[in-house]
Amino acid sequence: MIRIAIQSKGRLSDASIEFLRSRGLKFEPNGRSLVTPCANRDVEILWLRSGDIPEYVNRGVADFGIAGANVLAEKGMELEGAEKMDFGFCKLVIAVPGDSGIHSVRDLEGERIATSYPIILSRYLQAQGIRAAIIPLRGSVEIAPRLNLADAICDLVQTGKTLSDNHLKPLVTILESQAILIKNQYVIPAKAGIFSELFPNQIPTSVGMTQKL
C-alpha cells in the first residue's frame, strides 16, 4: 500500500485530484475523513493542509505528496532540479501601494514587509543585501499596508486581482512556483515500484531535512 498526500482544499486540490484520477485511481472526493482508500488500487489518499504535506512526507507518514514549490521552499527543503508538474502555477511577489515611495528593491531598505513566507523573503533580502523588517502574518497579508502595519507585502499571486483590488502593484517576483511531486527519501523499493507503475512518466523528488553532522 502506498499513501499519497494532497491538499484538502485550496489552490492545488482540484488539479491534484484530477491528476490522480487521470491515471485511473478511483476514490471518493474529500469528505470529512482524513484518509480515503482507492476503490481499485492499494493506494490511500491523505487529505492535508498544504503546509503540512512536506512534513508528512518527510516523516514517512505519507510516501508521496503533491505540494507547491512555495510551500516546500518555505519549509527549507532542498529542491534543486525538481521536476515540476503542469499545474499550480503562481508567483511570490513583493508588492507596494500604488502611491508608495518604494520604486525599486533598493528602496525596501528599512521598510516593513508583511508576509506569510518569512523564510523565503528573508533569504531573498539577504541575497540582495537588503535589511528590512519582516512582519509575519498568517493570512490577509494584502490589507497590511492600508492598516499602516507594513509598507510592502510579499504574497502569492495567481491572477493579480487581489493585488489590484487592494491598490497594490507588484515590485518584483521572488519565486515562480508550481506543483511538485515529492517522495519520502527512504521510501522502500516496493512502494516506489507501485508508484512508478501507476505514474510511469513522473519522477518524484526526494525530500528530507538536510542532516547536520
Binding site: 531598505e109 528599512g110 521598510e111 516593513r112 518569512p118 528573508s122 533580502l125 539577504q126 537588503i130 535589511r131 528590512a132 523588517a133 519582516i134 512582519i135 509575519p136 499602516n148 502595519l149 547536520k212 553532522l213
Partner: protein, 426 residues
C-alpha cells in the same frame, strides 16, 4: 599615585573581547548540556598537599603556592582534574555512577609567560567516570566533534590512539621500561620533526633494527583501516570497538584519525587517548585527553576509571578569530532609547519596558543631551538601533527608529516598535 599595571601572563578583557569569549563559552556549554552534562565547581585555593606531587617534577614547580594569613600552606588551582578527583573522593557517595560533569574555570601556573602561554587562563573539561565501556570514549569524541561544529570549524582532525596498544608494541619489541617514556615522547614528535629525525633519536636509545621495526608497526600513513591492518598481530579490538561505537554516534567519516604514534605527554593515561587539531590554524592541539584507570587513587580507597578531555579555550578563541568566525558576535545592547527631555521621558521608558518584555536588549541614555551625542554613544557601544522618542513622536504616538548601519530612519506607530525590531533581517 600607583601606575596601573597587571602581572605578565594575565589579561584584562574589555567588553568586545568578553562578548567573543562569552559567545564561544556558551556554544561549548550548550553542547555539553545537550549531552546531559551537569557542572561542578571547586575552590580556587586548595591545601597545597592536595595538588603537590600530582603533576610530575616540572609541573609541581609551576604551582602557585603561598602561605595565607593563618600560615596555611595554600596552592592555586593548577588544573581541574586533580581538584575534581579530590571532590569525587569526598563526595562519591552522593554522586550518580557513572558520573559525568563539565567544568570551566580559571587555572594558574607560575610559568614564564610567552606568546600563547599565560599565568592565568581558562580550562574547559569534560570527564566521565565510573565506566570502562568504550561508549564513554565514543561520547567524548562525539562531544568534541559537536563542539567544533558548533563553533563553526569545518576542517578538524580528532587524532586518537591506544596507550594499551602502544605498550603491547613496546613489550613485543622488548623495549625496557626505563626508556619507554623517552620512546613515547620521541614518537609523539613524529608529526613535527619527521620520520628521519625520530629514527635517529630512537637509534640513540635502542638497536637501529628494533627502531625500524617499531616505526614499521606504527607507520601512520594511509587510512584508519590500513593502519589497523599493520598492527593486526596485536590486540586491536579496542580500536575497532571505539571506531564502531563512534560510527554509531554519527561522528562524520574522516574526522577521527587513528594515529599509532600519538602518545600524549602525561603518564597517567591507560587506554584511548585523544588530541584534536584545527587543520586550518597552526596552533597545536585544541583539545586533548584520554582514559585513566584510577582518578582518585591518592585520595580514596575507591577506584574510579574514567575518560575525559580538556578543551584549550584560549586556543579555540584564537582559531575562531583567525578564521573570522567571530565577526558576527555583537555586544549586548540592541537598542538605545534616546533621552530628549523630562516630558518625553515617561513615553521613552514605557517603550523601553515594552521592548525588554519582547526580549530585546534595550537601554536608555542617561542624559537629555543633543541627539548627536547619543548617536555617538550608540556607535561606540555598537548598538544597531536607536529609538528616537521626541516631542513630535510622543504627540503622534510614534517612534522613529534609526538604523545605525545605514543611517536610515523610519517612523512607525509606537506599539509596532517591538515587532519591527524582531522582524528586522540580518
Amino acid at each position: 599615585m600607583i601606575t596601573p599595571k597587571i602581572l605578565q601572563g594575565t589579561r584584562d578583557f574589555l567588553p568586545r573581547d568578553m562578548a567573543k569569549r562569552d559567545f564561544v563559552m556558551n556554544q561549548i556549554k550548550s553542547v555539553f548540556v545537550r549531552f546531559g552534562y551537569d557542572t561542578v565547581e571547586t575552590p580556587a585555593i586548595e591545601y597545597a598537599e592536595t595538588l603537590l606531587g600530582k603533576y610530575g617534577d616540572e609541573g609541581s614547580k609551576l604551582i602557585y603556592r603561598f602561605h595565607d594569613n593563618g600560615g596555611r600552606d595554600i596552592a592555586l588551582r593548577y588544573d581541574q582534574t586533580v581538584p575534581f578527583a579530590r571532590l569525587v573522593a569526598m563526595n562519591w557517595q552522593e554522586l550518580p555512577m557513572p558520573f559525568k560533569r563539565y567544568q570551566i574555570s580559571k587555572v594558574w601556573r607560575a610559568d614564564r609567560p610567552a606568546k600563547g602561554r599565560y599565568r592565568e587562563f581558562t580550562q574547559c573539561d569534560i570527564d566521565i567516570i565510573g565506566t570502562q565501556n568504550l561508549l564513554a570514549e565514543a561520547e567524548i569524541a562525539k562531544v568534541m566533534a559537536e563542539v567544533f561544529q558548533a563553533l563553526g570549524f569545518k576542517n578538524v582532525a580528532i587524532k586518537f590512539n591506544s596507550r594499551r596498544l602502544m605498550n603491547s608494541v613496546l613489550e613485543r619489541l622488548n623495549i625496557p621500561r626505563e626508556i619507554q617514556t623517552i620512546v613515547l615522547r620521541t614518537l609523539d614528535k613524529l608529526d613535527k620533526v619527521g620520520l628521519e629525525a625520530v629514527q635517529n633519536e630512537l637509534n640513540g636509545v635502542m638497536e637501529p633494527a628494533v627502531a625500524t621495526r617499531l616505526l614499521t608497526f606504527l607507520d601512520s600513513r594511509g587510512n584508519n583501516e590500513e593502519k589497523i591492518e599493520r598492527l593486526q598481530t596485536f590486540d586491536v579490538q579496542e580500536i575497532r570497538e571505539f571506531l564502531e561505537k563512534s560510527r554509531l554516534f554519527g561522528i562524520p567519516e574522516g574526522v577521527l584519525e587513528f594515529d599509532p604514534c600519538l602518545a600524549r605527554g602525561l603518564d597517567y593515561y591507560t587506554g584511548i587517548i585523544f588530541e584534536a587539531f584545527l587543520k586550518d590554524v597552526a596552533i597545536g592541539a585544541v583539545c586533548a585527553g584520554g582514559r585513566f584507570d584510577d582518578l582518585c587513587g591518592l585520595f580514596s580507597e575507591e577506584s574510579f576509571s574514567g575518560v575525559g578531555v580538556a578543551f584549550g579555550f584560549d586556543r579555540l578563541v584564537v582559531g575562531m578569530e583567525q578564521l573570522e568566525l567571530l565577526k558576527a558576535v555583537s555586544l549586548n545592547a540592541q537598542v538605545l532609547v534616546t533621552y530628549f527631555d523630562e516630558n518625553t521621558l515617561p513615553k521613552a521608558l514605557a517603550t523601553l519596558n515594552e521592548l525588554q518584555r519582547a526580549n530585546i536588549n534595550t537601554e536608555m541614555y542617561f542624559e537629555p543631551t543633543p541627539l548627536n551625542k547619543q548617536f555617538k554613544y550608540a556607535a561606540k557601544k555598537e548598538i544597531p538601533f536607536v529609538l528616537i522618542v521626541g516631542p513630535d513622536e510622543v504627540k503622534r504616538d510614534e517612534v522613529t527608529i534609526k538604523v545605525m548601519k545605514t543611517g536610515k530612519q523610519k517612523t512607525i506607530p509606537a506599539n509596532q516598535a517591538a515587532s519591527y525590531l524582531t522582524g528586522y533581517t540580518s
